[in-house]
Point group: C2
Chain length 222, copies 2
């Protein structure tokens, strides 16, 4: 196979960027990691894509042989369809639909609720958001069923989409003292988080804890 150009334009602390890197690592695809400050080079390739990313974020963008793709879940599906080894989505259409459903649930319900529940949002909104966030975590826990991972016995789309919950959230909880996800409240999800962050391939895509702590501490003290 001719050498391929695979570049990830991202931000080191972004769970969305790390999702894409994890998908590439699962496939064993070599890529170049480019911090978002350098994203301007992409603007000439596809201004539409960069200016109108639905999730209001510029990164991550995957550049594959000159073609840019935005939005982490769209990128992961692209990666899964382009490199067939080690499937990330199930092959069965119904199971695939369920994986997409839960990945969307994480992006559209869980993450916004968790973020709103945090100490960086207006005080009046926090309590209701915390309640909603706990409801979301409880639902996710049910979706996990008795499986080791959402993807069954291996990391799949939903696990990748939930990376923030497994790693970033627990670090933020340590910094702020607020606790949403605990072993007492969500034993099954907590165990999943441990299993997930301890997979060797996942570990390679997690930003160093001390750097994240410093980032969140600087934010907390503002």
């Amino acid at each position: 196979m001719a050498e391929e150009e695979v570049k990830v334009f991202g931000a080191w602390a972004s769970p969305f960027t790390r999702r894409v890197e994890l998908a590439l690592k699962i496939k064993g695809v070599q890529y170049e990691d480019i911090e978002e400050e350098n994203i301007d080079v992409l603007k000439n390739i596809c201004p539409l894509l960069l200016n109108y990313n639905p999730v209001h974020k510029k990164v991550p963008v995957l550049l594959h042989n000159g073609k840019p793709i935005a939005e982490s879940l769209v990128i992961i599906e692209y990666i899964d369809e382009t490199w067939k080894v080690n499937p990330i989505l199930p092959e069965n259409p119904y199971e695939k639909a369920m994986a997409r459903f839960w990945a969307n649930f994480i992006d559209e319900k869980c993450l916004p609720a968790i973020w709103k529940a945090g100490m960086w949002s207006p005080e009046g909104e926090r309590e209701k958001a915390a309640e909603e966030a706990c409801g979301c975590l409880k639902t996710l826990e049910s979706a996990l069923g008795g499986n080791r991972f959402f993807g069954g016995d291996k990391v799949g789309l939903v696990d990748i989409a939930a990376n923030f919950i497994a790693y970033w959230l627990r670090i933020i909880q340590e910094v702020t003292g607020q606790e949403l996800l605990s072993a007492e409240k969500f034993p099954v999800l907590f165990k999943w988080a441990d299993e997930f962050v301890n997979c060797s391939i996942v570990k390679e895509t997690l930003p160093p804890k001390d750097k994240l702590v410093a980032l969140f501490e600087s934010r907390t003290s503002q």
Copy 2:
């Protein structure tokens, strides 16, 4: 092939429900159309799915041989993967990623902006939302390029996702007198909307105009 159970739990006026029906018609799949009042029968099959639909809506839900799937875009992909005839998504992974990107753009940016710009939202928010909505429509117009449909020479995922813009929006505009999409401002998108609603297969899935007018008029006079 044994007879299949295909049921769409939906609401007659809902563009999301109509998306699913259009996808089934493109595939030539016979289905039973069930109004949402009867969705309780599904609750025992999969309470998780129904209670935690990320887009906060219960319908549409597709029931296929006893298995429920929620969220219109997830359902359409399921339909496309289950019945292979007349593909709705492109086969090429990059084109497929672009189709998913634009379908998400419609759901996450266009539709919320159009809705906020409408006379049913607080007056103070409308002007800014109208500006954003026009920006979205302009972007969509660029995405269409010189093609007859977003799917090229035939209706595809993005066309189906944009059904509200082609049909519902123009009826709402007639009722309220507010105009976002016009032939003057968006000639390319306007022409697309005409082409789309005049496809015979699309027509079969559009609710009667007089019923929609009555619905929106009753809402306007409240």
